[in-house]
Structure formats: C-alpha cells, structure tokens
C-alpha cells in the first residue's frame, strides 16, 4: 500500500562528480512507502551512482539524502552498517561470495550479524531459495556452479533474507534471456509485494520497467527529467523519453 505521506527515500539537490565530470547535478527524488519505483536511463547517466550514494558506498559532494527520515550524508561508516540493516540490495552480477555455498550466501546476515543458530539459518535460507523458485538441493552448491539466472535468484534470496523494508535492484535482468528476465521480473514483483517493501530498481530494460514499477522516473544528464506511471510511458510527452522507449538516438 503506497503511503504518500511517508517518504522513505528522499534526495534533494544532490551533486556527485568524478574529477571535473558531474554525474549527478541538482538531483531530486522522493520515494514513498510501499512504492516500487524504476529509474530508467542510458548507461553512464548516474543510475548506479545514485543507489551507491543511498547505500553509503560512495560519498556525496553536496545535497541531502534521507533514508527512513534519517539524514545519511553525515553518517560515519559504522552508522551506515547499522542503517543498512533493513535494506536489501540485488547487485547486477549477483556479487555472491564465491568462497561460500549458496545457503551460506543467503543466510550471511542471519549467521554473522544476527548470530543465528546455523541450523535455523539454513532452514530460513532454504525457504528463501524456495521463494525465488530454487530447489533445496541448490543450497549446498557453490556460486561457480550456478547459471546467470540462478545467480540472480540467489542474489535476490540473499537480498530478502532479512525481510528488508527497502530493496534496491541494480539492473536485475541484464545479461539474461527474455524468458529468464520475465521470471526475475515476476519474482521481484512478488517479493516486494510479500514483504510490503519500498523498492527502487535501476534498469534500461523498458519491458522490465513496465512490469515491475508503479512509478517510473527517467534520468538524463544527472537529473530526473521525467516522472510518470508505466502507462504514461506509452505517451510520455517528452522527446528524450520517447526516443529512449523506441530505442532511437536523438
């Protein structure tokens, strides 16, 4: 249920540069509780950077970032570790720990942060794997034995293992075939709904965006230039968005 009174993620006048090149400039974005927002944009437009800033993986040049009402730009590293509890993240290539088995990956925070009993953590990990459509026999496999689609699913299971209230998805369907992409999209929709979480997905896959989102924003040259619903994307009334959707260069 979207609650437009409660902003969960709030970025205001955010600037981020690398050397002399500004990736984000005067970037504003507010995401409300329960919303599933997709951020579209070409490669190199700052989509991943914006998410990394929200997770404290990068420092902001200036501006304000609030997560669950807390200003995070003045956080210490320890504050970020604390704040990231309750936040899930699916990385583009899964970023699975290759020295650990699948179930240890999924149960990582349960074992190492929550200090849960390994038997209980394993049971939860297998349940989460089932949630993303993977059988229990996968639990003892190593990440190197998995296909690209399976890695994404394990990454998704790990992201939702601790029942987060905010989930970020970084290019969840990149590198997957259309059928597997659809499977992942459906899983994302189901997981977000089940958890009642707020989600931000970054992608340049229009089909994914339409399937996952209840709100779509378009990033161009470091700013949000368009904000609408998946339906609005059919007639965006913006030249750049129209070209992006049709895949035609300006």
């Amino acid at each position: 249920m979207i609650n437009k009174k409660e902003a969960v993620i709030e970025l205001k006048n955010v600037y981020k540069s690398f050397g002399s090149k500004y990736v984000l400039r005067d970037f504003d974005l507010t995401i409300y509780k329960g919303q599933s927002v997709v951020m579209l944009g070409q490669s190199g437009m700052g989509k991943s950077v914006s998410v990394r800033l929200m997770l404290g993986l990068m420092d902001v040049d200036s501006g304000s970032i609030k997560i669950n009402g807390k200003e995070i730009t003045n956080f210490t590293e320890e504050n970020f570790y604390e704040n990231n509890r309750g936040i899930g993240m699916l990385f583009q290539n899964g970023a699975l720990f290759d020295s650990m088995s699948v179930w240890e990956n999924v149960a990582f925070s349960l074992l190492n942060i929550d200090k849960m009993n390994p038997d209980v953590a394993r049971k939860i990990a297998i349940e989460k794997l089932a949630d993303v459509g993977l059988p229990a026999k996968v639990a003892n496999m190593m990440p190197s034995e998995l296909s690209g689609g399976m890695k994404k699913r394990v990454g998704l299971a790990r992201a939702i293992a601790d029942n987060p209230s905010i989930i970020f998805f970084d290019e969840p369907t990149t590198g997957l075939d259309p059928i597997m992409s659809d499977v992942i999209n459906n899983l994302i929709v189901r997981c977000v709904k089940q958890l009642g979480a707020t989600a931000l997905t970054i992608t340049h896959d229009i089909n994914s965006a339409k399937k996952i989102a209840d709100r779509i924003v378009m990033l161009y040259e470091g700013k949000i230039i368009w904000d609408g619903t998946p339906k609005d994307l059919d007639n965006p009334k913006n030249e750049y968005v129209e070209h992006f959707v049709k895949g035609i260069s300006l």
Partner: protein
Amino acid sequence: MEMIRKIGNMGINFMKSVFQFLLFLIQTIHNWFAPPYYPKVFLRNVIEIGFYSLPVVSLTALFAGMVLALQSYSGFSSFSAEGAVATVVEIAITRELGPVFAGLMVAGRIGATMAASIGTMKVTEQIDALKTLSMNPFKYIISPRVLAGVVVMPLLVLIADIIGIFGGFIVSVNELGFNPYVYIKDTYNSMQWIDAVVGIAKGATFGAIITSMGCYYGYYTEGGADGVGKATTNAVVYSSILILIFNYILTAVFF
C-alpha cells in the same frame, strides 16, 4: 619544469599512499579490540597461513641450513676453524635466514593469495555486498587475516629454525664427517635466549607486513582482472622489500 612537476606529483602520491596505508593499519588494529569477533574466519586464516605454508617453508629452511653448513665449512677449513660450523649455522639460521626465508616464502604464497582474493572480491562488488549486508569488511576480512599473520608467523619461523639447523646437522654429519654428539652440543652451547626473541619479533613483524600488504593492495584494487594482477604483484614486491628493510632494522635493534 615538467620534470620538477612530475617528481613533485610522485612525492605527493607517495605521501598519499603512506597516509592511506597508515589509516588502513589503524582501522585494522582498532577492529582487533572492537567486538564482534569472527573466530572461525581467524582460525581459517591461521590454517591457511600456517599449516599450508609449512611444506614450502620447511623445504626452504632445510636447504638453506644444508648450503650454509657446506659453505661455512669450506670457508672455515682454510684456517682450521671447522668447529665453528655448528655455531654459524645456528646463529645465521635463527637470527637471519630462518625468519627471512620463511617471510619471503609466505609473502609469495599468502601475500599474493590475499591480494588476489580480496582484489577479486572488490572488483566483483563482493566487498560492497558485505557493506550492504551491514558487515564491516575490516572486521570480517582484513583484521582476522592480519591477526592470523602476526600470530602464526613466529611459529613458522620457529619451525624453520629447527628444520634449518637440522639441515646443517645432516650435511655436517653425513658429508663433512662431524661427530653428531659434538655437533648437537656445539649447537646447544651457542644458543641464546635472544635468538628466540629475535626470531619471534621478526616473525611477528613479517607476518604483519605480509598480511597487511596483501589485504591493503587487495582492498584498494581498481579496475578488473588487470587491477587484480597489479595488486598481487605490488603486494608481493612491497612485502618482500619491507621484509628485508625491517630485517635490517630489527637486527640492528637486537645487535
């Protein structure tokens, strides 16, 4: 003018790296004293650094002791001082060759492994994944590794010392015709408590150098496979250089 600018830039970059490394070291040591702890990770690294390095360290020490016995015999026999072979082997192995060879071998094996594995974790976003899972990478990856190096290396040096002396004994008794009882007695008589202290101090220092350089270069890896390769090379080269420098410093301190 261009030349001066380049030298100046090199100097600034060097100072930046030194400062960054010192901060890295402070964070590493700080996490030794700040719970929570991860004993399983520590023990895994103790086994990896200590147990799996035993064959390579033992072989190196054995042959170092054997060569030393042969060479010192050929030198001392020219002025009828063959009796000093046992003493020279003992002092050279326990104070210098044992720690240095063990350090260099472990630098090649463990320093490279650590830089490569942590570097790969960095470029494949596994370090970022740790952070998003609320895990401080220093606590989970860096600090246990460096602590394991500091704890295990003195033991490895001690084993290298024993095996090195044994190598000298084998050659002296079997090749050079020494009386085994006299050789052991000479070795025992030449031993001083300071030899063990020097060995332990050097071992702990070299362990800290190897693991911190491996972790440091791995943690700050940039780029892809090329970056991991550079990190691995840097970790081995700089830890080897630092081992030799600190070996001299510690020898001078205990001289």
